[in-house]
């Protein structure tokens, strides 16, 4: 039996039929037909954000925590352009976000109509695919394909631009056809030859290292990576987005590499004769100066995206394929071995961590308080800057995919809205959004969203009165000229009160356990301000463009 439906209804129905259950969005003129239809689809819970950027980050957080697409909606013009930072963030970090934007009606396109912008043109380089829907009869197929494209292979954001008259256009509804073969094709399968060559290199290496990234989380390859590590004894390095892909407490786990990696981790890279990289892209924050990166090492690179193999570092063996499937075959192909002498050599260069901040308000103490209050059963979402590095280096992640951050794009303001999406994907456990005082103020309006929608996100603000990471660079590389980095904050406790949520200010370590415990136990959203040392630094630090062999380890 055929049905006549408007484009807006087809949009909603196709999303609901695809299993979408939450949408982050903000209404406006060109998306009003969609919002008119939306209440008829109770399965689609709509979260009204305070700025469209937050909708994109929240959809990203939802996608990363759930492994399913995160959906955000905005109107044309400014609504659509406000999504851009969120889409670029999702693009850099391979997150399956589907953005739906209203567009001015077809006859108005290209006339500089009110709230018209070429969002297709704007988002071309920051989406995996985008669509301008010209006919409502195409909508079901386009939405279905968009969801498939966003998730298939290496995930990424997709944008669907729907003119207002297409939303109103009534057509005979035909459920979406089966997704085309291109977007449902089996993942590439590596040849046995490459897997065997990788196994041979691992068997022959004296100082092999396993480096794992986001691809391991995306492919759910935790058990396989752990099996590979334990069968070979290889020490394991987790990149920023690979954190929690391997248990932090495991005796073979070394830590994070790169610009703020610990000395023993970077030294291990520089001494290694083999690096087995799984699901990472050897970006510049990991490698430092490429010419001096891992000078003794051959590289085995396993990645789903063929274009990443050999892109930054030359590879001895490149294997294109799903991290889980390839690693499983590698485990089967490899002979058991140990790396005891090599691991002992690395341990010899491990440095004690500096926890001597004023008032005991060290990142270690703050993160230990959060860990104690949650029992480690929480997801941490971080923003960008010094606190992000402290969390990455210090929080003892034991469960997979419990560390979510903006890695590639380094988007300040990410944590607060992304945490809303993480909560909706994981309603059963606490979600802590940790920000600095700079990043928090970028998207703190989302506290209103949390209150209105009942999203019990725990907000932590590391307040040092500076844009701390930029100030740190100014200290080391710009003659201590702290140009435009001191930043004023409102009274966060009063701010919390204004939003009707509990707020806590912690100035001394002795107050940490109580404040964090209460904030974590409260039913709704809460805000905790941690007043930390003003000019604390993240050490060690590789100067931009420097070699991993030359860390700065203390202030001069």
């Amino acid at each position: 039996m055929s049905e006549t439906l408007s484009g807006a209804h087809i949009l909603c129905r196709t999303l609901a039929d695809a299993g979408v259950d939450v949408i982050f969005g903000y209404p406006g003129g060109a998306i009003m037909p969609f919002y008119h239809a939306l209440p008829e689809y109770p399965r689609l819970r709509h979260i009204l954000v305070r700025h469209e950027q937050a909708a994109a980050h929240a959809a990203d957080g939802y996608a990363r925590a759930s492994g399913r697409v995160g959906v955000c909606v905005a109107t044309s013009g400014p609504g659509a352009t406000n999504l851009v930072t969120g889409l670029a963030t999702a693009h850099m970090d391979s997150s399956p976000v589907v953005a739906i934007t209203g567009q001015v009606s077809r006859p108005m396109i290209g006339r500089d109509a009110f709230q018209e912008t070429d969002i297709i043109g704007i988002t071309l380089p920051i989406t995996k695919q985008n669509y301008l829907v010209q006919d409502a009869a195409d909508l079901a197929d386009v939405v279905t394909e968009a969801i498939a494209v966003a998730q298939h292979g290496r995930p990424g954001p997709v944008l669907i631009d729907v003119p207002k008259d297409v939303q109103n256009q009534k057509v005979e509804y035909t459920p979406a056809a089966v997704v085309g073969a291109q977007h449902a094709a089996p993942l590439p399968k590596a040849g046995d030859d490459a897997v065997q060559r990788a196994a041979d290199l691992i068997a022959a290496a004296q100082r092999p290292l396993l480096m794992v990234g986001h691809g391991v989380i995306l492919a759910n390859a935790y058990a396989e990576v752990r099996a590979l590590a334990e069968k070979t004894g290889m020490p394991v390095i987790t990149t920023l987005l690979g954190i929690s892909a391997f248990p932090e407490g495991h005796p073979q786990h070394l830590g994070m590499p790169g610009m703020h990696g610990e000395v023993h981790v970077n030294r291990a890279i520089q001494r290694a004769d083999l690096i087995v990289g799984i699901g990472l892209r050897f970006d510049d924050r990991v490698t430092g100066n490429l010419a001096a990166f891992a000078p003794r090492a051959q590289v085995v690179h396993i990645d789903l995206d063929r274009s990443e193999i050999g892109r930054n570092v030359p590879t001895a063996v490149g294997i294109v394929g799903d991290a889980r499937a390839v690693t499983r075959r590698l485990v089967a192909a490899i002979q058991a071995r140990s790396c005891d002498a090599w691991r002992a050599e690395i341990e010899g260069s491990r440095r004690p961590q500096d926890a001597s901040f004023r008032g005991g308000m060290s990142p270690e103490a703050i993160l230990a308080a959060i860990h104690d209050a949650t029992g480690g059963e929480c997801t941490i979402v971080t923003d960008v800057g010094q606190h992000q590095m402290w969390v990455a280096k210090l929080f003892p992640y034991r469960r997979p995919n419990t560390h979510i951050t903006s890695g590639g794009l380094g988007t300040m303001g990410f944590a607060v809205p992304a945490a809303m999406g993480v909560h909706l994907a994981r309603p059963g456990e606490p979600v802590w959004a940790i920000s600095g005082d700079g990043g928090f103020q970028m998207n703190m309006a989302e506290m209103a969203t949390m209150v209105q929608e009942g999203l019990p996100v725990k907000l932590a603000v590391f307040n040092n009165g500076y844009l701390g990471m930029v100030r740190q660079w100014q200290q080391f590389f710009h003659g201590k000229r702290y140009s435009s980095t001191p930043i004023w904050s409102p009274d966060y406790v009063k701010l919390a009160e204004a939003y009707g949520i509990p707020g806590y200010r912690v100035r001394h370590a002795s107050e940490l356990a109580d404040a964090v415990g209460q904030a974590n136990a409260a039913l709704g959203p809460t805000l905790v301000e941690f007043v930390i040392e003003r000019e604390a630094n993240v050490f060690p630090m590789i100067p931009p463009g420097g070699s991993l062999s030359e860390p700065i380890e203390a202030a001069v």
């Binding site: 995996k128 977007h183 274009s307 892109r311």
Partner: protein, 93 residues
């Protein structure tokens, strides 16, 4: 070594698709010496397919990287480097 590479891309024949394809070249910041686009029916008949041919003046690794980026685009059906011209070697008639 810098050489001249002629690259052939078979793609869906829409203006948006061409925009996307040219965007790949722009983002990689490579020098494009020639660029032609012409309609081209797929082997099994039907329409809506274009052939984009461009000439890159770059090293082999970069040319290969550009090809890999094209392979990732939804709507690109085939990509190949058809000729490599080494400026130090001259063909005599």
């Amino acid at each position: 070594m810098i050489t001249t590479h002629t690259v052939d891309v078979l793609l869906d024949g829409t203006v948006l698709m061409l925009n996307r394809a040219v965007g790949v070249l722009r983002r990689r910041n490579v020098t494009v010496e020639q660029l032609t686009v012409r309609p081209c029916g797929p082997p099994e008949g039907g329409g809506g397919v274009s052939r984009m041919t461009f000439v890159l003046h770059t090293d082999a690794a970069t040319a290969d990287r550009v090809v890999q980026q094209f392979h990732k685009i939804v709507g690109v059906r085939a990509v190949e480097i058809t000729t490599v011209h080494d400026p130090n070697t001259e063909e005599q008639p």
